[in-house]
């Protein structure tokens, strides 16, 4: 079946611009995660949804970052007033139920470059 998809794959933004990144999880997956991966580093947790409920947003770096999943399927990560330090790959992952130890399946990521 289809895996996790993300769009756009690449985004160039001018500093101060708002951006919206979309994630389509695997159909039926309850849990959805967002991670940020800086160049040469491992992914870092941003936020976690179970259905439409945002259960953990402890990794969001500032109040410029906002995520939503209003109908419990597609999710959008929005970054307001982008800064150069926001340049990174943004990865979305989903898992079937969110049980402890469950594998997370990742999308290809959105590479954001802020000029």
């Amino acid at each position: 079946g289809a895996g996790v998809s993300q769009s756009p794959r690449y985004k160039v933004a001018k500093r101060g611009q708002d951006v919206a990144l979309r994630c389509d999880p695997i159909s039926g997956h309850v849990s959805l995660f967002w991670y940020q991966q800086a160049l040469g580093q491992g992914p870092e947790f941003l936020t976690y949804f179970q259905n439409e409920a945002q259960l953990d947003k402890s990794g969001l770096p500032s109040d410029r970052f906002f995520a939503e999943r209003p109908e419990g399927s597609v999710s959008t990560l929005k970054i307001q007033r982008t800064q150069q330090e926001d340049s990174a790959v943004y990865l979305c992952a989903s898992s079937p139920s969110g049980r402890a130890g469950e594998t997370q399946y990742f999308g290809p990521g959105t590479r954001l470059l802020v000029l």
């Binding site: 491992g42 992914p43 947790f45 259960l55 953990d56 990865l91 402890a100 130890g101 997370q104 990742f106």
Partner: protein, 111 residues
Amino acid sequence: DQQVKQNSPSLSVQEGRISILNCDYTNSMFDYFLWYKKYPAEGPTFLISISSIKDKNEDGRFTVFLNKSAKHLSLHIVPSQPGDSAVYFCAAMKYGNKLVFGAGTILRVKS
């Protein structure tokens, strides 16, 4: 504060030989450990995992070993193949299911 560390940025191995990738962690509350493989321009792909109540898990050419007292885990790939060349990430999970990743090790398998 790096809770998961992969101290070798890169590893080069001859085709057919064993690849051993290492990972250390500091938080004794982690209860699952996972290895992911990543090719350029793709997302991480799950390889193998291990629960903290086990010390070994095997899946085909891939075996993960966990030493809880040393807070160390390793991924063994036998035999290594050129298609295994990728970046390997060690990740740890505790309650809440968020993954904490290491910085990754680049594996090159030479034919």
